[in-house]
């Protein structure tokens, strides 16, 4: 008995020593195959041992950090502990910064949830007013860039990529973070959509489209444990994007053809948030749809050159689409920082930006809602500069220009005692405040100048980005002026006014409106640079199968 026990003790002790040495052996030799940990991080460099470093304890601290990232068997050991934390406490160490755990084991990226609550802006601006102003300014610059590129036959458009919180808000946890109580709130996604529509910036709002098809789509548009759209949704979106490009450029492009579908557990990047947990077994095992994507090989189709400036959502499209069959070139300017093309990465700094842009057919800005605060990572500003716009910060839209004119006029009125005397009387008469009366007067003066064509509009070069609505209004006013100076036309309008029981002004405006509409329909209206009032609602044309 004693003899056997001694042997057992010895065996266990030897085994203990072996266990203690496994990390060192693995670190030196990598003899045991281990599944690497998911995610990216900045690795600690191996510190240099110097007497000074050692004496000040710097080396010791650095080597401890380094060893924590490099010791052998780290991967399975960390997975084991993460699995424990997840199973027992439903938490992991990455959770705070990277993942919001939603209901029914749905995961969200924290920024997406913050944006859902319209408080993400606070990471980019001091308050919502400043954020709104920044977004407006960016939109004005973008409009101007669009107009310049259009003049060179390059179509710029923004693809508003869906974010998970808008499409699947039902799984967002309640009270996940109530630290921000400030008001008012703002979300770039809605603000940009409004701005783009108002200014006539080409844009394809996939979010709205996703909402429409969410309940009828065959498969989830977002994986339950991922932050990016599902591969399936990315394919649908790619098809829509191609249709939109055809529409915008008036060209025929190849159609996507989807190969046989496979149903499988999440493949990368589907479930990318779950990957970050680095668990031993999956959180859940839903089936996703995967398929090879080809084209119909239409020989008559145009292969445009596109540039995509965007965030990580585009990877899912780039990874699946036969880009070279559809486009003659399709470099991906990842966060406007690194160019990815032909499986190579290059710095954007090495490019002749103007040449690159002007030699393209399409420039696509593809950012999801949470990334729209990044203002295209400075692309607009850089591009404008490259295209010869000296001071892009001076760019404003026509509404802003008109407002500036009103402010100037107010200043003039305030400086004139005579005018002020008259305005005070008006204010008293119409029971207004003096401030309101001054502004009303200024507005009337500016409107009068617009109607008479005497407002000194800045030249449409590198200064103003006039939106299409304002331009049309200017055209209407010009037409009214022209009609007024034509006695025959005026006689006819008077008759119409009597016949249809309208005021003369109303009849005059209706006639002018008709004339302008007619010009638009006939294509004879002379737009300042190019017609950009073309934002048809996105629609799926169906993928050929």
């Amino acid at each position: 008995m004693g003899r056997i026990k001694v042997k057992y003790d010895l065996l266990l002790f030897v085994l203990l020593m072996v266990i203690l040495f496994i990390p060192i052996i693995q670190e030196w030799t990598g003899v045991f195959p281990v599944k690497p940990l998911n995610g990216v991080f900045v690795p600690t460099t191996k510190p240099e041992l110097t007497f000074e470093n050692y004496k000040t304890n710097t080396y010791q601290a650095q080597i401890d950090k380094y060893s924590s990232e490099n010791f052998g068997m780290r991967e399975p050991i960390l997975r084991l502990y993460n699995q424990y934390l997840w199973d027992v406490f439903r938490k992991t160490y990455v959770s705070k910064e990277q993942i919001v755990f939603g209901k029914d084991r749905w995961f969200y990226e924290p920024g997406s949830v913050s944006d859902h609550e319209q408080r993400l802006f606070r990471y980019f601006a001091a308050d919502s007013t400043q954020m709104a102003s920044m977004l407006s300014k960016e939109a004005q610059k973008l409009l101007h860039l669009q107009q310049i590129l259009e003049a060179h036959g390059v179509h710029l458009f923004v693809c508003l990529v869906p974010a998970k919180d808008l499409i699947y808000p039902e799984y967002i946890p309640e009270n996940h973070d109530t630290t921000y109580q400030g008001t008012p709130k703002i979300s770039a996604r809605f603000y940009n959509e409004d701005n783009f529509t108002r200014l006539g910036i080409n844009h394809l709002n996939l979010e709205q489209w996703f909402l429409q098809i969410k309940d009828t789509a065959d498969f989830a548009l977002f994986p339950q444990t991922g932050m990016h759209w599902s591969k399936y949704a990315a394919l649908l979106s790619a098809d829509t994007l191609i249709r939109y490009m055809e529409h915008l450029g008036g060209i025929n492009m190849k159609n996507l053809v989807i190969g046989p579908r496979e149903y499988d557990e999440a493949r990368r990047p589907d479930g990318d948030l779950e990957d970050l947990l680095n668990l031993m077994r999956p959180v859940r095992k839903p089936k996703y749809c995967y398929a090879d994507c080809m084209t119909d090989g239409d020989p008559t189709a145009t292969k445009p050159k596109i540039i995509v400036i965007g965030d990580s959502f585009w990877w899912t499209i780039a990874d699946q689409l036969p880009l070279k069959e559809i486009f003659s070139r399709a470099p991906y300017w990842y966060y406007n920082n690194t160019i990815y093309y032909d499986d190579r990465y290059n710095s954007l700094d090495e490019l002749d930006l103007a040449e690159e842009l002007l030699s393209s057919d399409f420039v696509v800005l593809s950012y999801c809602a949470t990334q729209q605060y990044r203002m295209n990572d400075g692309f607009t500003q850089k591009a404008l500069k490259a295209l010869g716009v000296k001071d892009s910060d001076a760019i404003m839209d026509s509404a802003s220009f008109v407002e500036r004119e009103i402010q100037r006029t107010i200043a003039d009125i305030l400086a004139s005692p005579k005018s002020m005397e008259s305005i005070r009387e008006k204010a008293k008469q119409f029971n207004k405040t003096v401030e309101k009366a001054v502004r009303d007067d200024a507005k009337w003066i500016v409107n009068y100048k617009i109607q008479n064509g005497t407002l000194n509009w800045p030249k449409h070069d590198d200064y103003i980005a006039m939106d299409s609505a304002t331009f049309i209004e200017c055209e209407i006013q010009r037409t009214i002026k022209s009609l007024k100076s034509n006695p025959e036309a005026m006689q006819s309008i008077r008759e119409k006014a009597t016949k249809y029981n309208k005021t003369l002004d109303k009849a005059l405006r209706d006639d002018a409106l008709w004339v302008v509409n007619h010009k638009i329909q006939q294509g004879t209206l002379k737009w300042p640079v190019n017609n950009n009032d073309m934002n048809p609602k996105p629609e799926s044309h169906g993928i050929q199968q």
Binding site: K5, Q60, E69, L85, W315
Partner: protein
């Protein structure tokens, strides 16, 4: 270097034990000595020379002291041998404290403050200074003979398992083991189990709970914080509901026990692997029925040191009751100051001294009369409240936390229902009190002190090996927080 670090667990410990056990028995002390010096030099490179120099000086002073027959010289050498380690302790540990207080007095009297360069506290100085003192005094008293070999003495002082945080080992307890010790396979395995138990206490309980304590109370020492950070801590504490305030204080009560007891377990375990039998340092202190009993169970080696080298020399209870109370109170005041150079430790020690005197006067009898469980609960709550002064250096903040504890505005599940905190505290409470039952005592006796059958060894070994891996994972998991992809 600390035990709960990658460098120790993954590199130092395996390499040391491999070399140690491959070395012939006679030379193992040299391996241990070298490893101990490397261990200390890793964490306190600037102090290693002083440590070795003062130890060598003490060795020769004590030898001289033993050889001389002149009583006066003997006393002088004894005093010198005590002054060297205690002088270093006072200089390094209380230098800053003394200067800060001196400057405060100068400020109050309208004088300009003195400037001085802040002194870094060498790790473990409180422990090895006391060990050095025990050697001198025990040798002086004739309890033991002086060491013959210098290397053995340096090993006694610097032995890495107990160098940083004890237990404080009296020379007489370990002298024979240094010269001659047996390390059976059973010892090695039991040592390993004990080490892992300590590691679990430290990493899986103390560190987890401590994270929440730190999140509320900030670091123990405010000297490195900006004014706004201190203000934030005050605001946080002021806004605590009573439940949260109690949770924070209880969390710290468990944290300090499992941290310290865990470290002692690791030290005892490492020692046992090599054949050393270090004295126990903790005996379920939170099951005590009085503060007096608490001190018989908490940091027992410090208690023994204070009893043998301070309380008894001061006269103990031999000079009347009044003197005894005074002696007790002084001992605990100094014990508080030994724990840290700050007034909050003095308050902590003074309060313990006060309650020990109260025990002797009347409280002990009251506790006996109210029964076991109520007295254990009351003592635990008292200890818990007094720990607040130990944890928080700033008296006004400590008082604020105590006020919040007794504000009686309780809330349900604060700290956002931090399940891990609650579960860990329940586990901590279980292991703090489970020896109140006979079954608990038997389990502890079995795990810590009994021999195992083969089957038990295999089972416990597997559990311990898994726990070791798990602790290494816990130690490293919090540092790994990757991103999905690079964002510029």
């Amino acid at each position: 270097m600390v035990f709960s670090s990658n460098i120790f667990l993954l590199y130092f410990m395996p390499a040391f034990f491999l070399v140690y056990f491959l070395t012939p028995r006679k030379a193992r002390n040299y391996v241990l000595l070298l490893a101990s010096l490397i261990f200390y030099a890793w964490g306190a490179p600037e102090f290693i020379i002083q440590l070795v120099a003062s130890t060598v000086a003490n060795f020769f002073l004590v030898r001289w002291m033993c050889k001389t027959d002149k009583k006066g010289l003997k006393k002088l050498l004894c005093a010198l041998s005590i002054i060297i380690p205690l002088g270093l302790l006072i200089f390094y540990k209380y230098g800053n404290f003394t200067m800060e207080n001196l400057n405060a007095i100068l400020g109050l009297t309208g004088h300009a403050p003195l400037t001085w360069k802040r002194i870094m506290l060498p790790i473990g100085i409180s422990f090895f200074s006391f060990q050095s003192v025990t050697y001198t005094l025990d040798t002086y008293r004739g309890v033991n003979k002086p060491m013959e070999k210098l290397t053995d003495f340096v090993l006694y002082i610097t032995m890495f398992p107990q160098l940083i945080a004890g237990p404080i080992i009296r020379y007489c307890d370990v002298a024979d083991q240094i010269r001659n010790r047996e390390s059976t396979m059973d010892d090695r395995l039991h040592g390993f189990y004990r080490f892992v138990i300590g590691l679990c206490k430290k990493i899986l309980i103390a560190d987890v709970i401590g994270a929440q304590v730190d999140a509320v109370l900030g670091p123990a020492n405010f000297s490195l914080l900006e004014a706004w950070q201190v203000s934030d801590i005050f605001t946080r504490v002021a806004e605590l509901d009573s439940t949260s305030a109690w949770i924070v204080s209880l969390a710290y009560t468990f944290q300090i026990y499992f941290d310290f007891a865990g470290y002692s377990d690791m030290a005892i375990g490492l020692g046992r692997i090599m054949g050393f039998k270090f004295p126990e340092n903790f005996d379920n202190p939170y099951t005590s029925r009085s503060i007096t009993e608490f001190w018989r169970r908490w940091h027992q080696t410090l208690g023994a040191f204070i009893m043998n080298y301070l309380y008894i020399p001061l006269g103990g209870n031999r000079r009347g009751k009044g003197r005894m109370y005074f002696n007790l109170w002084v001992c605990f005041l100094l014990s508080g100051l030994w724990h840290g150079a700050s007034w909050n430790f003095v308050i902590w020690g003074a309060l313990h001294g006060l309650f020990i005197c109260a025990d002797k006067l009347f409280l002990g009898n009251v506790m006996k009369k109210i029964g076991k469980l109520p007295s254990v609960i009351l003592t635990f709550l008292l200890v818990n409240i007094i720990w607040v002064f130990f944890r928080i250096e700033d008296f006004s903040l400590a008082w604020l936390l105590i006020k919040r504890m007794f504000a009686f505005d309780f809330a349900l599940l604060p700290f956002s229902g931090n399940v891990q905190l609650y579960v860990t505290m329940i586990v901590a409470a279980f292991f703090s009190f489970f020896t109140l039952t006979k079954l608990g005592q038997n389990v502890q006796e079995k795990v810590y002190f009994s021999s195992f059958t083969n089957g038990q060894h295999i089972f416990v070994w597997l559990v311990a090996a898994f726990a070791l891996v798990f602790c290494v994972a816990a130690l490293n998991a919090s540092d790994f927080s990757p991103f999905i992809y690079f964002r510029f």
